[in-house]
Structures are given as C-alpha cells and as structure tokens.
Assembly symmetry: C2
Homo-oligomer: 221 residues x 2
DNA sequence: GCCGTTCAGTGATCTAGTCACACAAGACCG
DNA sequence: CGGTCTTGTGTGACTAGATCACTGAACGGC
C-alpha cells in the first residue's frame, strides 16, 4: 500500500472534497507501532487522532484487583475517535488502548482535526458516525456483562475470534475478553470439551463442532 | 428563568461568540416535556440535540429478560449529545432516554447543530467535552458492573441519591439503577438495616448512619 | 372497611467469582 | 539429556449474586 492512497481505505473519507483530502494527507503522518505498545491510557493522553491503516487496537479496562475486560477493538479502516474526546478533559479514565498487532496508522494532530471538523461536512459525518459505532459498542458491552450468561458469551466469543477452526488464546486472555476470572473460563471450556464442541491444548482451542456452539450462542438469557 | 437567557446556564456556551449565541437562540426552540416521557429509544430516534434547562433525563438499557440498568443521567446545564451520534447511524441500540422529572430543554435541530459545529470552535469544544464526560461515565459503569461488589455499589448509590437523609425509591428501582435483581437489593438493605445504617419504609430509605455507609462505599473490591 | 395492586421478605437452588493450591507443558540451560 | 523455572491449566471449598416460586404487608381507591 502506498502512503499517498490511504484515504481510500476509509469509506467515509473517500467522499471528502479533494481540497480536504489534500489537507489530510499533507498534515498527517503515517506511523508504525510495534505490537504491545500502549497507545493511550492513564497518564498517557493521546495527542493525535489515529486512523488505523493496518493491524488492530484493543481498548480495555483494568480493575484495581487486576481483572480486565475488553471494551472494543479498532480494526484497519476505522478510527480511534474516542481518544479525541478523551484528549479534552476527564483524564482520570482508566481505559487503555494497546496495539494488538504491529500497526500502521495515520496520525492527525489535534488542531488539524479541529480544522477539518470546521471545514468539511463529510469529515464531520465520518467522525460522528465513528463515535456512534463506539458508543453502541459500549452499550452492547454493558448489556452483555450485566445480563448475559457466561457460557453464552464465551461461545459467542469463541466463534467471533476463531481463525479457521482455532482460537489462539490462553484461558487468562479469554477471561480478560469477557471480564471474568480465569477459573470460570477453564470450567466452561471443560464443559464445552465434555460436549465435544472443542478440543483444547495449551494456548489454543480448536472448535470441532461449531453448530453446537452456535446453538448455545443463539439462546437468550 | 427567561428563555432568552438560557445560554448562560451552560458553562461551555456562555463563552460563545455573540453571533453564534444569536444563531443558537433564534434557531432553537424551548420545549417542555412531562415526566415519564420517552425522549429517545428503540424506534424513537431523536431529531434534535437537547440542552437541558430544567429537570433530569435518565438513560437506561433494558434486557430482553426485563432487567434494566441506568447508564447515566443528564442534569440541568448538560446536553444529551450521545443522541446526536446515535441520530446518524446504528439505530439498533437498545438504550433509551426517559424524562425523570418534568423537563425544559432547548432543542437544536440537526442541521443547525451541524452549522454550529462548523462555525464555532467554542461550540466544538462544548460538544466534544460533553462527549468526553458521557464516555467516561460509560467506562465507569462497565467498571462498576464488572468488578465491584454489590454491597459497595449499593452503599454508594444510596449516598449519591440521598436528598437530605432519605432516598425515595423502591427496591425495584434501586435494582434497575445497579442492573441487578430486586431480591438482591432487598437482602442487602436488610443487612444494612441490621447494622443500623438505614431505616426502611415502603418506597423510602432513611440513612441513619452515613458514616457506616461511607466506610463501606470507600472499600475496594 | 373491603379489594386490588404494588412492595417487600424468604427459602431453595443455580451460576459466577474467589482463594488456595496441585500439577502439567514447554522453555532455558548446563 | 535431565533439572529447574515459568507459564498455563485443573480442582475443591467457599462466598456472592441471580433466579424462581412463593407469602404476606402496605397503600390507594372506592
């Protein structure tokens, strides 16, 4: 991918007026960040709006007791808009964003972001619909955590995160996805295994019966 | 309060350029809404940005099993910005906003909102910091639900919602505040009563020992 | 004062989270 | 190759929270 063409990667940006695209390209910089880097978090306020070109960013929350929960992921072609809001005020939030893979992103300085918002209706639409997506993601997380059973949530997560028929994750990592404890995941997975829905080995889970998992994932409650 | 002066009620708006204040006043309408009205929700997309002059709006989520959880409240002097985001896309969210009291609000049509965003840096700051507050509220809700013990959360909620030394709410309503079941609240309150922290009567709870509640509310876990 | 409705109390049972460990699978290394 | 270290997983016992199925108490309106 050439850096000059990255705008085409974003649905909402390719419709921008050419003049605005120009500004976007000339006043942003494409950066590469290594997997595992903390992009923002307590005491690490982001200075730029990031438009993700390659890789994924995981946004998660950590409790004082050490438990974690994944709030949402930003994937290639999406923007990390919530950080723009969190730039402004309320630095006391405890969520953090971590590069889950090596990533490449276009970084737009805050004042350029502000200029673009003022100048372009299309850019405003892009930004506000990105907000919209994140906020509905958060609503969804609240709903899942507050009301949905663990076994159902775990089945959903396995299906969602499977590449081919395998999920590469430790029980601890799955627990962090769902905001629960490792033991809970271990027990649920044992049960799934007993039902011959999965096979387990250290650090990976093979889905041997998607239909079984899908049936559970589709149930209410 | 005269309608002409409502802008002064909003910290972030009183600094607006006079020209912009003019637009805001002339192109918005002050509306009165009765307590209990659903302002937005599934199938009821809001057409305006609301700036709340009097009263409070409760934003909550309902599960298919009938349980509820309060996400946040909008109070006088604040704006209902998340609805602007949700106007745009993703109508499938299940959160709803209810007038908790009789309310008075300035309603700004969507296209005026867009014009103001384009025209005024101060207005942009106002909107983005409102977003910022709501999003950190949501992060906070996730953290509470996922990691905090019920007794602690209930103690906090009682202190937060007390007017004088009484909380006017049924057990069912407190359960909806915290996203739990009524029985859980009943049992926790019995325990608080046993410890002489509260007195109960139908629909009201009197805090007789704030210190006790505060001590519990301050504990971790 | 009666009656219907809304609130609150309670036991039994199930699911989830916590604590304290034991043990197994690789990783590293002499 | 066998030892030891780290990391991941299994398990029992216990506490907290959710669910179900009730009972009875309090209040509102005739």
């Amino acid at each position: 991918m050439t850096d000059e063409s990255w705008i085409t990667r974003f649905d909402g940006l390719s419709r921008l007026e050419p003049r605005i695209q120009e500004i976007l390209l000339s006043r942003s910089t494409v950066i590469d960040v290594e997997a595992g880097t903390v992009l923002f978090g307590p005491g690490r306020a982001p200075q730029n709006l990031l438009l993700l070109l390659e890789g994924t960013v995981r946004v998660q929350q950590t409790s004082d007791t050490g438990r974690e929960v994944v709030l949402y992921r930003v994937t290639a072609g999406e923007s990390c808009v919530l950080t723009t809001a969190c730039l402004l005020a309320y630095e006391d939030y405890s969520a953090e964003g971590v590069a889950e893979t090596d990533i490449r992103a276009a970084a737009i300085p805050r004042h350029v972001f502000d200029d673009l918002i003022a100048a372009s209706k299309e850019f405003r639409n892009f930004v506000f619909s990105a907000y919209s997506k994140r906020i509905t993601d958060l609503f969804h997380v609240v709903e899942e955590i507050a009301f949905r059973r663990m076994d159902i949530r775990l089945a959903q997560k396995l299906l969602e995160r499977a590449e081919g028929d395998t999920v590469k994750a430790t029980h601890q990592q799955m627990a962090a996805e769902l905001g629960t404890a490792r033991e809970v995941i271990s027990r649920q997975l044992s049960e799934f295994q007993r039902r011959d829905w999965i096979e387990q080995s250290r650090g990976t889970i093979r889905l041997t019966d998607r239909a079984g998992l899908e049936k559970l994932a589709a149930t209410q409650g």
